[in-house]
């Protein structure tokens, strides 16, 4: 477990693929109020509505005020290329049920990797221990909450053989070597994941989701004289096999070559405070770190966030709207229901410069007496849901990118990042710049690389003085970590000018 309240984001590294099997689809559940869709999920997990109600009753037996069951079956595959060959494959099957009991804002949690009645009852009893009375519990009537449909796909990854996937890795390898003679090594991966989720709670809410995910990426290593440089480029979506085509291969290869080539002539800026122009797209990492985590309601409920007393107050220039959105079509951060069975929103965190909403899970929404925002997420059935981001972005502004750059006498322009981190209470956040450019007298000049930028969240937010009209979502393999749990997210931003941040560099 992780107990440090430091939260980070990173673009995924190379992992890898293989085959999978579904558990046998058994006949179960004759419940008459159950739709065919839900019945498929009950069958998938070999449970009946009645059995779920019995588990909930056991979970609530010691006086809990709420309980839920989160069944999950996740099939992950990874296919890897190294030294010109698709020569490794990994797969993982994860299956089980997480059982959570709340008593007010206190949480009891246990999970079982088996859906046998005895094993689930045992887990329910453990989770029940958060409470210590024997208040009676009235089972709610079952009602189905239909999930949204934010990730339509044509061909599921489970139906795609290793043989069909291999050529795409080979092609991206060959393309990279053909584009530039400086390429000395290529690593490529194709990771997919299919998650089946069934949710039921003590209020009777019954829901389900099917979550596909694909990530395709390359690490390109190039040599010029003695100097060796590398770049990582990837795309990730909740899409099916139909997404893979030649254009993605070309896009990855071209971008990797371009990003690596910049590095050979790159230098370091002068160390210190200076204006920073954040290029459209991946610079959204600024929002994720500087603002996003500190708007997660658990931190604010406990008073540990630097934004704890800022609701309804002006935190940024009035042209700024910042959103956390779980509803973008096929986006890596989208979810049809959150992991507490709640509807997912497009949530305005900052509206016209005013702090408008935190991101809530069930516990914090209850505490603040607001509707849940659909931010209750969990890494898997082994972990409890907590407030988490989805796709976090800022709406486009009115300025032109060139005007942002032209307004800077000495500063940096940055648009390629690997990772960031924030300290919730102090508000200090960082992001690591893989590459960018110096700005001198209003013009982009030498490339720069490998510098950390550090700032303070509220100050940086207030210091965003211009935003361009070139909004872009970054569809990289962003993975967000908090309390030891990782969840997929995305970020997006138009080009913005931050008046002052502390830039790593040399004296």
């Amino acid at each position: 477990m992780s107990i440090k309240r430091r939260d980070f984001i990173k673009t995924g590294a190379v992992a890898v693929a293989g085959s999978m099997i579904l558990p046998p689809f058994l006949q179960s559940c004759q419940g008459n109020q159950i739709s065919a869709d839900v019945k498929n999920y009950l069958d998938h997990f070999e449970v009946s509505a009645e059995l779920m109600q019995n588990i909930i009753a056991e979970a609530m037996s010691k006086g809990g005020t709420y309980a839920d069951l989160f069944f999950e079956h996740k099939i992950s595959n990874s296919l890897g290329l190294e030294d010109g060959k698709v020569n490794k494959a990994y797969s993982n099957i994860d299956y089980g049920v997480g059982i959570r009991v709340l008593k007010g804002d206190q949480t009891g949690f246990a999970y079982s990797e088996s859906v046998e009645t005895g094993a689930m009852m045992n887990a329910a009893r453990m989770a029940a221990n958060i409470a210590d009375s024997s208040v009676g519990f009235n089972q709610g009537d079952i009602f189905e909450k239909l999930p949204a449909d934010y990730y339509k796909i044509s061909k599921k990854w489970e139906d795609v053989s290793v043989e069909e996937r291999v050529p795409f890795l080979q092609k991206v390898n060959d393309k990279l070597f053909s584009l530039d003679p400086k390429v000395i090594r290529v690593m490529a991966f194709l990771n997919d994941e299919s998650s089946y989720i069934l949710f039921y709670n003590s209020e009777g809410r019954l829901s389900y989701d099917y979550r596909p995910m694909i990530s395709f990426g390359v690490v390109c290593i190039m040599q010029k004289g003695e100097q060796i440089e590398n770049s990582y480029v990837a795309r990730s979506f909740r899409k099916g096999f139909e997404w893979l085509d030649e254009s993605i291969v070309d896009e990855l290869a071209n971008e990797a070559i371009e990003k690596t080539n910049i590095l050979f002539d790159a230098t370091k800026p002068k160390a210190g405070e200076m204006p920073v122009v954040l290029g459209a797209g991946g610079s959204g990492i600024l929002l994720h770190e500087a603002i996003g985590h500190t708007f997660e309601a658990d931190f604010n409920r406990k008073g540990t966030s630097i934004f704890s007393d800022k609701m309804g107050k002006k935190v940024a220039e009035s042209f700024i709207n910042i959103i956390d959105d779980g509803t973008l079509q096929n986006n890596r951060g989208s979810i049809n229901i959150d992991d507490e069975g709640n509807e997912v929103q497009k949530t305005y965190l900052v509206k016209e410069g005013i702090l408008n909403s935190y991101m809530h899970d069930r516990i914090s929404a209850n505490y603040y007496k607001v509707e849940p925002t659909g931010n209750g997420r969990r890494q898997d059935f082994r972990n409890i849901p907590i407030p988490r981001m989805r796709a976090t972005y800022m709406e486009a502004g009115m300025s032109k990118r060139e005007d942002l750059i032209a307004s800077v006498d000495y500063g940096v322009y940055v648009d390629n990042f690997t990772n960031g981190e924030v300290k919730i209470g102090a508000g200090d956040f960082t992001f690591f710049v893989k590459s960018g450019y110096l700005i001198e007298k209003g013009k982009l000049t030498s490339p720069i690389k490998d510098i950390n930028i550090i700032g303070n969240g509220p100050q940086a937010l207030a210091d965003i003085s211009m935003a361009a009209d070139d909004y872009k979502t970054d569809d990289g393999t962003w993975m967000c970590g908090k309390d030891g749990q990782s969840v997929p997210v995305t970020v997006g931003l138009p080009s913005v000018l931050v008046k002052k941040l502390t830039v790593g560099g040399l004296s």
Binding site: G108, F109, G272, G425, F429, F432
Partner: protein
Amino acid sequence: MTKEEKYKLAKWAVKHALEKGAQDARVSIYESQNSSVEVREEKIDKLEQSTRSGLSISLYVDNKYSAHSTSRLNNKEELKSFIEEAIAGTRFLAEDEYRRLPEPELYFKGKVKDLKTFDEEFLSVDPQDKIKAAFALEKEVLGKDERIISVSASYYDGMSSSVMVTSNGFEGDTENTYYGLYASVSVNGGDSRPESGWGDSAIHFKDLETQGIGETALKRGLDKIGQQKIESVKMPMIVENRSAGRSLGPLISALNGSAIQQKNSFLVNKLGKKIASDIFTLLDDPFIEGGRGSRMFDGEGLALKKRAIIEEGILKTYYIDTYYARKLEMDPTTGGTTNLVLKPGNRSLEEMISSLDRGLFITGFIGGNTNGSTGDFSYGVEGFLVEKGKIVKPVSEMNITGNMIDLYSNLVEAGNDVYDKSSWRLPSLMFKDVEFSGK
């Protein structure tokens, strides 16, 4: 599962894989039990308990390789088809002549030495005592200072066991336990709400420190009040022992066989060369009793040895597993660190601080990264400004920037305060000429 049941299942899986067309296989069965309790405001905030198990199998099929894992162990028929489908999928991959099991003579055989990594009392610790320990920890802090905003105190523990069997003769098992206490304190610092945590961990329940953790967490939080950046400057840096791993990590990653073979490491072609100052000696010692990384064999079953990684600044060896050893035409060492021991110096942290005319004492890192190909790094830091041997004020929101080889060539002193409750046993470290960026 008992150890015997795990061995039985592992051997069955190896046999099934061989019967269905694999030429070789390696199977691990693992199991773990974990519990944790977190308390806030004199109530239990979270109570978690879990038992998990899994099987992982590496398959060598017609010179092709893949690896698979599953948490569904209950149904033999399903495991059979899991293995069979995995073999079928492997056949679509490219051949890779380097993918073979290790040479059997390199496997650990001999007698297992008791490395004291397991607490036999694990299952008999009373759950109520765990909860009490968390409440006692919280109590140490609550009400002790009016600037406290939030306190959380956690107790956590775990037990894990595994067996590994290969088709060319390896059999081995491991057992580990851990216990921990951790306090996290947020304090009101005016515009900022600094947070700090402190904890202890142990392999045996009876060895867990229960006194003083909360007090330390609170003190470290209060000490951060008023943190500010100072001007950009080049000067000495002392990194506190518990944070030293963050500065050493990139150097260790660069020793990895995969990075070396892929030429994605700034330590390519550096064996036998000077990469750090004379005082830098680093050992990998698998056999320390009670060491957090102690073990007799590695993840492939290779027998471990005590090795010098860096000796008086000279790079002696890489971390190379069987696969990359064959690709690099070198002898395998092992794929990862066990207990890393950095040779300590003679002076305490306090003596090192008081010897500084002006410098920064770093207690934490935030964000940042290292370019693995070149060793160039840049990290966020926080800590304290030291002037004329005294800590004068808390500092944050600054970066350090440089190159790993330069940094370790500028290592001027290691303290005598080795933090031995981590598998990386590091003392506080003092470097000269570090580039800080601030105001």
